[in-house]
Amino acid sequence: MHEEDRQLVRTLIRGDAAAFRNFFDDYFPRLFRFILRRVNGDEESARDVVQSALIRAVRKLDTYRGEASLFTWLCQVTRNELADQVAKSVRQETYMRRLVDLEDDPQARGILESIPAGGEAEPESVRQREDLAALVHAALDYLPSKYARVLELKYMEDLSVEGIAEAMGVTAIAVQSLLARARVAFRDVGETLLPSLGGNW
């Protein structure tokens, strides 16, 4: 049971405005990325889907039981919303048109054609790299926000422990502890999402 998430949902149902803002600021970017990957990077479509899904979710918060994490539950709601929208013929046409537009776009086609065949930069390698990035991003999104943030501050921003403490408004000791827990959690999530790497990372 995900008691912390259940508690958050109970707070939301009670109408705590601060809890809502924290909830939204935490989950919206993660759901946005979750859907962005499924609509070929079309931000407007991703926005439509996630907004509708979150509206749907806040209407039925009382059905969240805590069997899965809140993020997993929201992903399911969002996935259903995407399926519904795609099922609507008008929306489907829009998605298809956007896809065709991209393929027909001379600039996009130029980029695709500029990738040399063979060697390190062959399209498959590029695609694999993009897939890897998407999987790592997904793994970070599945972590509690503070875990993802501390990992990014450490490895993307190259901040020292003191710098991270400054950025997160906690002590250096708390950062060290958080980093250790975040590494473990990332490995746990990553082993599920990145099985092809065989845990060699």
Binding site: G15, D25, Q176, R183
Partner: protein, 340 residues
């Protein structure tokens, strides 16, 4: 609570996990305006469905930043009844950047620069939110992730986050601002200082002037310029030496009150910059104060950070600046420097 460092945190930063995260690059973020617009839409629905349990919470809005080029504007709000008419005024709203929530206000639909902040109101900033306000005669800034309650005239409560206060002059009335926290009370005695509160501790840093920190049992400690104090949740009190500049204060410059330069002398701008950053202004011979009083500036630095503003303004003068000496902003003649 985290009290012991975990030895696993000392793993070398070049391990495979680090390489993987670096190789993946930054996670894409939704556009801030999109974020704000979607939040407004979802919050309206949430408000309609949540049982508000007696809390008729307020007004949520974003205020377009005064520093337009850097500002992330928010343009949404949901309206609920405000505070009872006639509540005592505690402060004045000045500006905000990023997600900021003000609740409740004096009943107006939208908070704008100059809006009254009455007793019982609060300001909350999101992860990237900043707010400027005045309380009594003191200019205050709230950093990201902060919650400030305005309890009564002259008294505010920092529940979490960080606040920076600048009275503008050491001659500001004593006791003009009292900041309550769960760890003690900080009384402004005419100065520039910041208070930070997190679940583990409160820390006070004094850039200039002095503050009085009071705890239960009548214990009080005066903190002077260059000093700090940390009070932990277990009651441990430790004094610190703090530089008036550097990383500890960096967030303060992230969102500064607008400084109009048009028609003002270069010296006024440099004094403002030094005050914003905690640096000491040093004039290197043959530069004199009179030299800096003469050039009259024109234009605007709206939308620029203090560092950007400094670079932009100095490029239009015959002077160079140098910040290689920690804590100092050195001004020298371009001609002299070129000759060396």
């Amino acid at each position: 609570m985290d009290t012991q460092p975990d030895p696993r945190a000392d793993e070398p930063p070049t391990d495979d996990l680090a390489r993987l995260i670096r190789r993946a690059g930054r996670r894409p973020q939704p556009d801030p305006e999109m974020h704000a617009a979607v939040r407004a839409a979802v919050e309206r629905e949430w408000s309609a469905h949540a049982s508000h349990g007696g809390r008729r919470g307020a007004m949520v809005l974003g205020v377009a930043a005064a520093l337009a080029a850097l500002a992330i504007g928010l343009s949404w709000y949901s309206l609920h009844p405000g505070a009872p008419a006639g509540s005592a005024e505690v402060g004045t709203f000045v500006a905000a950047r990023g997600p900021v929530h003000v609740a409740p206000t004096d009943g107006h639909e939208m908070v704008v620069a100059g809006s009254r902040l009455n007793a019982g109101s609060s300001i909350e900033t999101g992860p990237a939110g900043y707010a400027l306000l005045t309380v009594a005669s003191v200019a205050a800034r709230l950093g990201p992730g902060s919650l400030l309650k305005l309890n009564r005239p002259g008294h505010v409560e920092l529940v979490r986050g960080r606040i920076y206060a600048d009275s503008g002059s050491p001659s500001a009335p004593p006791d003009a601002l009292v900041i309550d926290t769960a760890f003690g009370q900080v009384t402004h005695l005419g100065t520039q200082f910041q208070v930070r509160v997190d679940p583990e501790a409160m820390s006070v840093s004094v850039r200039d002037g002095k503050v009085l920190v009071s705890q239960g049992g009548g214990r009080s400690i005066t903190i002077d310029r260059g000093q700090g104090l940390r009070v932990s949740s277990d009651g441990e009190v430790s004094r610190l030496n703090v530089a008036p500049y550097g990383a500890n204060w960096a967030w303060v410059s992230e969102f500064s009150p607008n400084f109009p330069i048009d028609g003002r002398p270069l010296s006024a701008f440099l004094s403002w910059y030094a005050r914003e950053t905690g640096l000491t202004l040093v004039l290197r011979r043959p530069v004199t104060q009179a030299d800096l009083d003469r050039p009259t500036l024109s234009g605007s630095i709206t939308g620029l950070s203090p560092a950007q503003a400094l670079a932009a303004v100095m490029a239009t003068t015959q002077f160079e600046y140098d910040m290689t000496v920690p804590g100092e902003l050195r001004i020298e003649s371009r001609a002299t420097r070129g000759a060396n």
